[in-house]
């Protein structure tokens, strides 16, 4: 991410903050839900899109973050401390989940993360002292750097701020040795190993960093909803997150935000449209159907995600589509993807 992009990003974020007071609570709510989901999607994109480790337990990891943040917050700590603590705890759990990745590849690993998801769900219900079991952990509002921001607009400001920081951090990270190794491992684990990359250690770093971000996102979610309950972190949430990064674009930073916005807002939009037509059951069914069909359509027509669509549109607007056409790029990566499947 260049300096200019960073400036644009911060400007947009500031603009959102300026607009915030004008939005209703519901509007602010939508803003922070999207921002929080974006942080989570960014974390997952780092793992799947940049390091090639397919994971279906992201929902569970957000849960770990939520419980950790809740417990730290309830112990009277500042929200910042709670979020960082949640990040660290979740990073640790994420590394544990990542350990099988040192031995398992591709689909087998993906399915072991599915197992991790179910085991986490079970533990959330079981470890009463930490999670309050099925009742869920009620979370007291905590100050943020000593400020009382415990209302929907305050949360929106925090979430957007954190999202901007995460985006900048991840984009910087990808420009370091570690980030390059992530991408190398995604493209070819065998080549990476042959090049002398310590694949095991690099993968675990990916899990740790992704886990840290997921933990922060989950922690923020917990503070905003004032409860961390097991039902909120089930497999469906993991699936939603995978949908976000695929719809947005694997291995794309703006894609994480676009995808999160899409997956969070689409049902909401479909719901509103449905409501104008009447019957509630049908609305719910139509909302689901629109979601499912749109995902399928996007994947068929734009397997590289909405971000690629967007960037192509931007390029067309600028009329600077140089000799390096998009087609050329995608075909080479398609080759790799096809190979990855076989």
């Amino acid at each position: 991410m260049s300096l200019r992009q960073i400036i644009i990003l911060i400007t947009v974020a500031l603009a959102v903050m300026v607009v915030l007071p004008g939005l209703g609570r519901y509007g602010a709510y939508i803003v922070y839900v999207v921002a929080i989901a974006s942080i989570g999607a960014l974390a997952l994109n780092l793992l799947i899109g940049y390091c090639g480790q397919i994971s279906f337990c992201h929902g569970g990891l957000l849960g770990v973050g939520a419980y950790a943040a809740g417990n730290i917050g309830n112990a009277g700590q500042d929200m910042v401390v709670a979020l960082v603590g949640a990040g660290i705890v979740t990073a640790f759990v994420s590394v544990m989940i990542g350990l099988p990745a040192l031995r398992l590849r591709g689909l087998y690993f993906a399915i072991s993360t599915l197992a991790a998801q179910f085991i986490l769900e079970y533990l959330f219900r079981l470890i009463e002292p930490w999670t309050h079991g099925v009742s869920g952990l009620l979370i007291q509002p905590a100050p943020f750097f000593g400020l009382d921001l415990s209302n929907d607009r305050g949360y929106a400001a925090i979430a957007v701020g954190l999202l901007v920081m995460s985006l900048i951090a991840v984009s910087r990270l990808l420009r370091t040795d570690l980030g390059r190794r992530f991408i190398l491992i995604r493209d070819s684990e065998i080549v990476a190993r042959g090049m002398g990359v310590n694949v095991a250690r690099t993968k675990l770093w990916a899990f740790a960093i992704s886990g840290f971000l997921a933990g922060m996102s989950g922690g923020l979610l917990a503070f905003t909803s004032r409860i961390a309950a097991p039902e909120a972190f089930e497999i469906a949430l993991s699936v939603d997150y995978v949908a976000m990064i695929i719809v947005g674009g694997l291995g794309s930073l703006p894609g994480a935000v676009i995808g999160a916005g899409f997956v969070v807002l689409l049902p909401e939009v479909a719901q509103r449209i449905g409501e104008t037509f009447g019957a509630a059951t049908q609305t719910a069914a139509l909302r689901e159907m629109v979601f499912g069909l749109l995902i399928i359509l996007f994947l068929i027509h734009e397997p590289r995600g909405l971000n690629s669509l967007a960037s192509r549109a931007v390029r067309r607007l600028r009329r600077t589509s140089g000799p390096l056409s998009n087609n050329k790029r995608s075909s080479a990566s398609d080759l790799e993807m096809t190979q990855a499947r076989l």
Binding site: N327, K328, S331, A332, D334, L335, T338
Partner: protein, 237 residues
Amino acid sequence: MLDVSGLSVRYDSVIAALEGIDFEVGEGRIVALLGPNGAGKSTLLKAIAGMLPFEQGEIASGKAVFDGVLLNGKHPAAITRSGIALVQDGRQCFRNLSVGENLKAASFRHSKGAEDRLQLVLTYFPILEEFYARPAGVLSGGQLQMLVIGMALMIQPRLLMLDEPSLGLSPVMVQSVFEIVERLHQDLGMTVVVAEQTVPRLMEIADDVYVLSRGHSVLHAPPDEIDEDRLQSLYLS
């Protein structure tokens, strides 16, 4: 019988593997397709057999015509049915299936007279009868080579194309593979294209020689015009 003209092939839309190849195979002839590693021999055979799209390759220009029918863009299954059999490199067969099933699978699209052809294949390759019910995976390299040639025969081809059949085989095995090729040619009048790096035995039976190098056709001559020195200069220079 087979007429390839001006054929260029690219992989991944960028990597040029063949440039403007002309290649002709007359009915009933044995054609040797020679060239060092990476010269484009396999690519040429795959282009003819329609296998390129499955390896991210494409025919960029030129055409391949078999018995007056354009092969460009045809599905491999259709090309096989029109009578071209390709024995690919790496001895591609179904290793988890029995030898018998391998042969049967090859005759699906060509069920007429399949029984007779099966008997024929088994007489050519007695070893296959011996291993008939065992998984192909247990065969040795030479036996596998027999099997894949046998499978190609089950297709009832008029044009048989072999891609480096001698690769990784012991000299004795190489000898017997070429013996088989010669017998097929003599007994059945089959047209054969053999792509190879090493030559001597092949030169004895070939009617025609093409030499490829780095994606270009560098020589087309009858075998007696090609001596070792000339080849050596083409290969080793």
